[in-house]
């Protein structure tokens, strides 16, 4: 419905309203206050509430953008909306305060009135914003109904308050005020979710609090995603698109928050055409010149990087599948979060012994950093030729404080795995170019903090290192130049540098 239709509708409503109002007045006489003024107010309020409730059904949020002036005014909604919030919160405070300072009672009435007026204002602007900008998601819709319910609630409070003040009806007003507060919290939260995203509050919530908040219910979809879409495409859309094209707003009727929703498309049809990136509206829009009217993301929000666009393009090209795990030509470095350093205990009491040890044996225990809890590094560099299983065993006493053991090029053997198993805080273990064969590597399993293991230049075999796969924090295992991992072959290149291939563009 456009605004011409609306004005026609409005004049019709005006002419008809007189009779309807009279009827309503007569009807209400049966159970409403006898005072004529009060009755008029009640009827007017009832009518207004009805209008508010019917408004969204008459002027639907259709997901299309409309006149610019609506958006212009509408954008004052986020500003205006804070007024009713402030006013409404103030009302119960004033009511409570009036017990001690009766003058506040009058103020409460005034503020309640202001709450209502500002609610109406915010509601109008909010509606203009949603209608004008073509927002039409479930979140917007919830927020809208919240606003309407709130406005009506405040109106009812206004009506009920005189009876509470005079003492005739004591329970209704406080109850309603309480309800209004609850509606306020809900409506405001929905509004915040539209602007900031639904996980805004929970994103940095401490895990324990999350467990409390979710009552320990773990969502089924927390399993690590495996498909290319879930791992790489969805996060891009989530970061760059979903704030407008999500469940909350769904601008242009388009939602990009799930695969199914995306494939459903928006008001302008499909946005992804599998196999045809050039026909896919989504790719067209994000690759327009940045100053183009239809460029997405709109309104100066951060654009997609060329890398992200190339991923989406390749994914669409190869069928835009929801389940395909790899896309040929695209390999994305996976950021495996490294295990954070676990603080080691206080070893200051052992310092004299540590120094003694160093002087005697030559192998050193060096602090990782000036922070003592970062632990010690066992450095055998200067004595590697004489550092064997017995020497290592002598360090067992300091084992809980050692986070790195540099045993490369030493003469330790498989027998040392028993000792090493006691180095519970070990993060990094160098065994390169030693005589170990890997028998007993499985004994390292208790080293849950181990992230790096260097076995290069040893005699380990594939079978020997197989048990390492079970160590989930062990991301860096090096087996270069071993039976398990022979040296890779270097492919030669044609000697272009010498030939001096001219720049192809220039040659044209």
């Amino acid at each position: 419905m456009d605004w011409k239709n609306l004005s026609a509708y409005w004049s019709k409503l005006k002419s008809g309203s007189r009779g309807a109002f009279q009827k309503l007045d007569d009807f209400s006489r049966r159970f409403l206050p006898t005072d004529r003024t009060v009755r008029t107010i009640w009827c007017a309020s009832f009518l207004l509430s009805l209008v508010l409730l019917l408004l969204p059904l008459v002027i639907r949020l259709d997901g299309k953008t409309h006149a610019d002036w609506q958006q212009f005014l509408g954008r004052f909604h986020p500003l205006m909306v804070h007024l009713p919030i402030g006013f409404i919160v103030l009302v119960p405070l004033l009511e409570i305060g009036s017990k001690y300072r009766p003058a506040l009672r009058e103020a409460a009435e005034f503020v309640l009135g202001l709450s209502f007026l500002s609610c109406l204002g915010a509601l109008t602007l909010g509606y203009l914003l949603a209608y004008g900008s073509g927002a039409a998601g479930a979140g917007v819709s919830r927020h809208m109904w919240g606003g309407i319910a709130l406005t009506i609630g405040v109106l009812l409070c206004l009506l009920a308050r005189p009876y509470w003040v005079s003492g005739t009806v004591t329970r209704v007003y406080p109850t309603m005020l309480m309800c209004v507060m609850l509606v306020l919290v809900w409506a405001a939260h929905e509004g915040g979710s539209i602007t900031h995203g639904s996980n805004y509050l929970t994103k940095y919530m401490p895990p324990t609090l999350v467990r409390v908040a979710t009552l320990g219910i773990v969502h089924a979809n927390t399993a690590a995603p495996t498909s290319f879409y879930a791992k790489h495409i969805n996060p891009i859309l989530d970061a760059k698109c979903v704030s407008c094209h999500g469940e909350a707003e769904a601008k242009g009727g388009l939602r990009l928050d799930s695969y199914e929703q995306m494939m459903r498309g928006g008001k302008d049809g499909a946005v992804i055409v599998p196999g045809k990136p050039e026909e896919s509206l989504l790719l067209q829009r994000v690759t327009l010149p940045a100053d183009h009217k239809q460029f997405m993301p709109a309104e100066g929000k951060p654009p997609l990087t060329s890398e992200q666009i190339s991923w989406i393009k390749a994914w669409v090209q190869q069928g835009a599948s929801a389940s395909a795990t790899t896309i040929s030509g695209i390999s994305i470095r996976e950021e495996t979060p490294e295990l954070p350093r676990m603080p080691v205990g206080d070893y200051s009491a052992l310092m004299p012994e540590i120094e003694q040890m160093q002087k005697g044996q030559g192998a050193k225990l060096l602090p990782v950093s000036s922070k003592a809890t970062d632990g010690l590094v066992l450095n055998t560099e200067d004595v590697s030729a004489n550092f064997g299983d017995t020497q290592l065993a002598a360090f067992e006493k300091f084992a809980p404080y050692i986070v790195e053991a540099e045993l490369g090029r030493t003469v330790v053997t498989n027998a040392s795995f028993d000792t090493l198993a006691k180095f519970t805080h070990l993060r990094v273990l160098h065994l390169e170019d030693t005589a170990i064969t890997g028998d007993g590597l499985v004994k390292l399993a208790p080293l849950t903090q181990l992230i790096y293991l260097n076995l290069s230049g040893t005699k380990v075999t594939q079978a020997a290192i197989a048990p390492l796969a079970a160590m989930k924090n062990l991301h860096h295992v090096y087996i270069y130049n071993t039976p398990a991992g022979p040296a890779p072959v270097v492919a030669p290149v044609e000697n272009v540098a010498q030939a001096g291939v001219p720049n192809s563009d220039q040659a044209k």
Binding site: R333, V368, E381, P488, A497, N503
Partner: protein, 513 residues
């Protein structure tokens, strides 16, 4: 001070060192004594004054901290401020200023602008070098070579570097490095020491001073020079670049020769066995110790420790330079050139061996990148000499598990202009010095792999996004090694000196993993 025989004053002058004053004050006094001692001696013969000026920066020191920190230092290990990502670094220094336009900073749009003048708005009011400031025009010289995309990051790399292209997914390429200096010596000093003037410690010296050694048998800071190619335009490289400046000279870089024995006179002469050498050293050290006690000059201690280091290097260096046990795969990787001492590939291999032996900082110098003319003649030669070495080094470190905690740095002192110096033809051109933008790269411990940082304009002339000035570049390197560039300071001439200088510098977090 001894009393003059003709002096009638019989009162004995008190020795400050005997007074009940704090030890620090005594050391300060001793440091002053050094200067007087030196001047006293040099006053006798005028010729000494000349020597004084030659050695002056060591003997006429303005610092008093050296003595105080002497006991703690002695080349030993010092923990970094915070847990570092990289324990050691290898710096491939491309002296002369490699051309970012031809190697890294791909500008396909320039091809259409061949021989057109670069817009004045791009150059702005920049002062050019004397070599091109007189030119009537500044014609755009597009790169003579094509570029290809490499790796999953799709990074564009010149056809000049087919090997290096393969490691782009391990590299962090910085296209927005920029410097304040436009001529070689100040620029190369700024890059290495954080200051255009000589006399400041270089990055390697700061690292030795701040972190110390992880290997007692090899120097903390090693310098490898690549053999000269006389066809190239070799700008001089001097030991100022690896000097320790006002820091104790034990932190200076130790150079390995590019030809013959890596260290001269390292092998004992015939008839001198290791015991004899030991006895001799003990005696020399005793004498030096007496000098130290008399004068309190920390340089004496440096001398003692360097004699000791040389003694240990007699064992460790031959082992380091013995490549006979390298498997065939090494030669397949580094190429046949690596067998020839002094080549860039050989130096890269030695650098890897030093990384294995926990040498803290290795710097490889490759000269000849100064291509004012004949770019199409010089650049293929330069790239061919270095391309495979860079690739092999990073690949080798990676497969051996060393890249996790070794930072590899590739940089020159500045870039080259997009416009041609001298005549521009379809076949050839030259490029002048260009400080406003140049490309550098890092790989390994602490930096984010597979990324390109910073952007230049369409002419590879000005930085348009994320500039990285030299001080930030150095601050980032220090950060990777666990050092806060603002905290690693040394009081000299009344200033808490630091590598990054007095202009506030910041770590470039966009480069970090």
């Amino acid at each position: 001070m001894k009393q003059h025989p003709l002096c009638t004053d019989t009162e004995v002058e008190q020795n400050v060192l005997g007074l009940p004053v704090p030890a620090g004050l005594k050391r300060e006094w001793a440091a002053l004594q050094t200067r007087r001692h030196f001047l006293g001696r040099s006053g006798k013969v005028l010729g000494w004054a000349a020597i004084a000026s030659l050695l002056g920066d060591q003997a006429l020191r303005g610092d008093t901290q050296g003595a105080a920190t002497m006991d703690a230092a002695a080349g030993g290990f010092k923990p970094p401020l915070f847990a570092p990502k990289a324990k050691r670094a290898i710096y491939l220094f491309m002296s002369g200023g490699p051309s970012q336009v031809d190697m890294w900073d791909y500008k396909p749009n320039l091809a259409a602008q061949f021989d057109k003048d670069i817009p004045d708005s791009v150059r702005g009011a920049q002062q050019l070098t004397g070599m091109t400031s007189g030119q009537a025009r500044f014609p755009i010289a597009p790169s003579h070579w094509g570029f290809k995309q490499y790796g999953s990051s799709g990074t564009w790399v010149s056809d000049l570097m087919p090997y290096t292209g393969r490691i782009v997914d391990d590299m962090t390429i910085i296209k927005s490095t920029n410097t304040d200096a436009i001529n070689h010596e100040p620029a190369i000093m700024l890059m290495n020491t954080g200051n255009m003037n000589a006399g400041k410690p270089c990055l390697g010296a700061w690292l030795s001073y701040g972190l110390g050694s992880m290997n007692d048998n090899l120097p903390t800071f090693m310098v490898l020079q690549t053999k000269l190619n006389q066809k190239e335009d070799n700008q001089p490289v001097s030991s100022r670049l690896w000097s320790s400046g006002f820091l104790s000279s034990q932190y200076a870089g130790v150079g390995l020769r590019s030809q013959g024995d890596p260290v001269l006179y390292l092998t004992d002469p015939n008839g001198v066995d290791r015991d004899v050498r030991r006895k001799m050293l003990d005696a020399v050290n005793e004498i030096n110790q007496q000098t130290y006690e008399e004068l309190g000059d920390p340089e004496t201690n440096s001398r003692i420790s360097q004699y000791e280091m040389a003694y240990r290097m007699q064992m460790s260096v031959p082992e380091l330079a013995d490549l006979s046990k390298e498997p065939q795969s090494t030669w397949d990787l580094y190429g046949p050139e690596a067998k020839e001492p002094g080549t860039f590939a050989y130096n890269c291999l030695i650098a890897r061996r030093m990384a294995e032996r926990n040498v803290r900082f290795t710097q490889i110098y490759k000269r000849g990148w100064d291509m004012h003319g004949n770019a199409t003649g010089l650049l293929p030669m330069l790239c061919q000499e270095t391309d495979r070495g860079c690739y092999a080094l990073v690949t080798d470190l990676k497969q051996r598990g060393l890249l996790d905690d070794t930072l590899v740095i590739w940089a020159g002192e500045f870039g080259r202009t997009v416009y041609s110096q001298g005549g521009l033809t379809k076949e050839n051109y030259g490029r002048d010095h260009h400080p406003r933008c140049f490309t550098t790269w890092m790989a390994g411990g602490g930096v984010r792999p597979g990324t390109t940082y910073g952007e230049t304009d369409d002419f590879s002339y000005n930085v348009v996004k994320d500039p990285v000035p030299v001080r930030d570049f150095n601050a980032t390197i220090l950060h990777c090694l666990g050092i806060d560039h603002n905290k690693l300071t040394y009081k000299f001439q009344g200033l808490d000196q630091k590598l990054t200088g007095t202009t506030p510098a910041s770590v470039v977090t966009g480069l970090l993993a």
